[in-house]
Amino acid sequence: MRTVITGVGLAVPGVDRPADLLGRPGPAAEPVDVGARLGRGGLRYKDRATLLGRCAGLDALTGAGLLDGGELRVPADRCGVVVSSNFGNLDTVCRTVDTIAAEAASAVSPMDLPNASSNIIASTIAIEHGLRGPNLTVCNGITSGLDAVHWAASLVAAGRAEAMLVVGVEADTGPVRRLLGTDRAFDGAVALVVEPTAAARVRGARIRAGLGGYARRADAAACLTALAGAGGRWEPAPAGAALLALPGAADRPPTGALTRWRGSSGALGVLACAASVGWTDLGGPGPLCAVVADDGADAAAALTVRAPAVSW
């Protein structure tokens, strides 16, 4: 079954449109103001990653036309959520052990109970919109975001859902800074809506890009070999995350377009797919191959993304 991207949501500082993800970094942007975007309701007792994820998720569902005036346009039990985040709830975990060490378990906040479980982002978004289909949280290292898009497409192809919201998110918190040895960590979320081509057509949704093959292998080269098709082999991948074109493509995304997102961890793969949508929004020719790799990582992953051509 062919699957397509019909919605993109962004909660990334300094980024307004998917195509902005391909541009050069501007002056340091202000952090995303989650309160301004979500309104006052439901902000309490939620960690920042959950709030960032909600911002992006809301925009993707709305952009795909699945949410209309707060009403869901697909059966609630046929729409699910996949979240990718490696560090999303580390702040709750670390704050809680600090409290226990300084005082005792009796001093911790019971409101933190759900936040101690790493699936809190996905379950909160499901509750917000009443999405009762499969609900999955992928915590899979550097490839996590691409893996999440793959599992969303897989759930749709298996007939377990008619639409899946995919959210990649990380938050800039104290524990993340210490773990990554940085004084400023990625603080944002990117979301996509994935659904079958046929369903998108029936809904009259705007198809932003089509999803193709996926591979998770030892390194980028092995992924690209696995994804080589009738169109030929992909051009070699540079180090780190990249958007590749086929050799001989009339035009291609700027080399190193994804370099500045290298630290976005669980958000990176979803961000790479959104950047592909940005490329096709600009009229760039497809297909592209989003590759996520990094030195020392246990594996690399790659996913092909096609322009919304007539054949879709």
Partner: protein, 412 residues
């Protein structure tokens, strides 16, 4: 469609292999012990179902979950007669708390932590050469969610063999937060009992090798017929009866079975006040007039709540029960909640065994008839060996997963 379980591996507080765990559970042995790795003065609850492998009292070491996961996968591969080479095999791991205990030790005590240790693929690549690995943090239904995705890969013919696993180690943060919501600290897990006080966490890992087809002379423990998945989208911790019932019905529909066909139900049964009642009400609603037919049991009464590992651990126990006719008792269940009064809880091993029932832990006692025969209650058409099992797993955020497993009566 159905998928062959070609190999199984398990580690829990009650045993270090599938056979050890199954024997301990059938014998009604609990893994409950004094808290091993935390400063006990900080907690009201003093016990949990931990794996006793720490260097000493109060001493904790990182990456224990990773070690159990590797051991469970090793056992499952050996059991399936496969080499310890997973280069071309997808490995799907369900977990509630990942390596968050290692994060706590790093943050609080300064033990080294690499970001790559947070997901299990790093260790699985080192040990088995695996690169197509996926860590899913899906709370207490994580390993059955992973099982569902594994069967989807086989159905799509993306793979001929997949390894599905589940693992969890206690975290201080979750243990402390769960304790905070209990009125009285529980001293043990008593699923479905009116006097239950709540949940205590347990540790464990489970792994299965699933195959699309069985090679000649290949091993089979039975099959996975289907796994149903949904989400309550209702509350971050409180369960939802209708949604749980929908997940059970979905699993039955996908497997092409009716409640009447189910011989054994492995209940999620955490001993939590609201969860047990919600699960019992959902099971009663789906099974309706047949609710007194299948045998039922809740192994968390002996393993504690092994969180993300629990669903797959229960599946493994279910397959052993179907193969042997022996079903572990629900320890500490003396007086079932109203919603479960018609349930036919397994009494544990019958004559010849020395078990839960003998120690007064199961209702009814035994009659000398086949395992599971509770006096005073008709068997409701139960006529032969056990063949079909339903395995429940429900998690925070309303993540529901229900698996249907089968062992052919004639035996593979």
């Amino acid at each position: 469609m159905s998928w062959t379980v070609a190999g199984m591996g398990a580690v829990a507080s009650v045993g270090n292999t599938v056979e050890d765990v199954f024997a301990a559970l059938c014998a009604g042995r609990s893994g409950l012990r004094e808290l091993g790795g935390f400063d006990r003065s900080k907690f009201a609850a003093q016990t949990a179902y931990e794996i006793d492998d720490r260097p000493g009292p109060g001493l904790d070491v990182p990456r224990r979950a990773t070690r159990w996961l590797v051991r469970a996968v090793e056992e499952a591969l050996r059991d399936a007669g496969l080499p310890e080479d997973l280069r071309d095999v997808p490995v799907l791991i369900g977990t509630g708390l990942r390596e968050l205990r290692s994060v706590e030790l790093w943050w609080g005590r300064g033990t080294p932590l690499d970001a790559g240790d947070l997901h299990f693929g790093t260790a699985l690549r080192d040990r088995f050469g695996a690169t197509n690995t996926h860590t899913f943090a899906n709370a207490c239904s994580a390993s059955l969610y992973a099982l569902a995705l594994g069967t989807d890969l086989l159905a799509a013919e993306t793979a001929d063999t997949v390894v599905v696993a589940g693992v969890d180690a206690l975290t201080e943060s979750m243990f402390g937060l769960v304790e905070r919501v209990h009125r009285v600290p529980p001293d043990r897990v008593r699923p479905f009992d009116r006097d239950r006080r709540g949940v205590l966490m347990g540790e464990g890992a489970a792994a299965v090798v699933l195959r699309r087809w069985l090679p000649p002379h290949g091993r089979s423990h039975g099959t996975v017929r289907a796994v149903g998945l949904n989400c309550d989208a209702h509350h971050v911790t409180a369960p939802h009866v209708d949604s749980i019932a929908a997940a059970i019905r979905q699993a039955h529909d996908l497997a092409g079975v009716k409640p009447y066909d189910i011989d054994l139900v492995m209940l999620h049964g955490t001993g939590t006040l609201r969860n047990d009642e919600a699960e019992a009400a959902a099971v009663a609603a789906v099974f309706d007039a047949d609710v007194d037919r299948p045998l039922m049991t809740a192994i968390k009464s002996m393993t504690g709540h092994t969180s993300g590992a629990s669903g797959l651990l229960a599946l493994i126990v279910a397959l052993r029960s179907l193969a042997t006719g022996r079903v572990p008792p629900t320890l500490g269940l003396d007086n079932p909640v109203e919603e479960a009064t018609l349930f036919r809880f397994a009494p544990g091993d019958t004559p010849g065994g020395t078990t839960g029932a003998a120690s007064g832990d199961a209702p009814g006692g035994t009659t000398g008839a086949a395992s599971g025969d509770v006096p005073g209650r008709p068997l409701g058409g139960f006529t032969g060996g056990l063949s079909l099992a339903q395995v429940n797993a429900f998690g925070f955020g309303g993540l529901n997963a229900v698996a249907i497993a089968e062992v052919e009566p004639c035996g593979p």
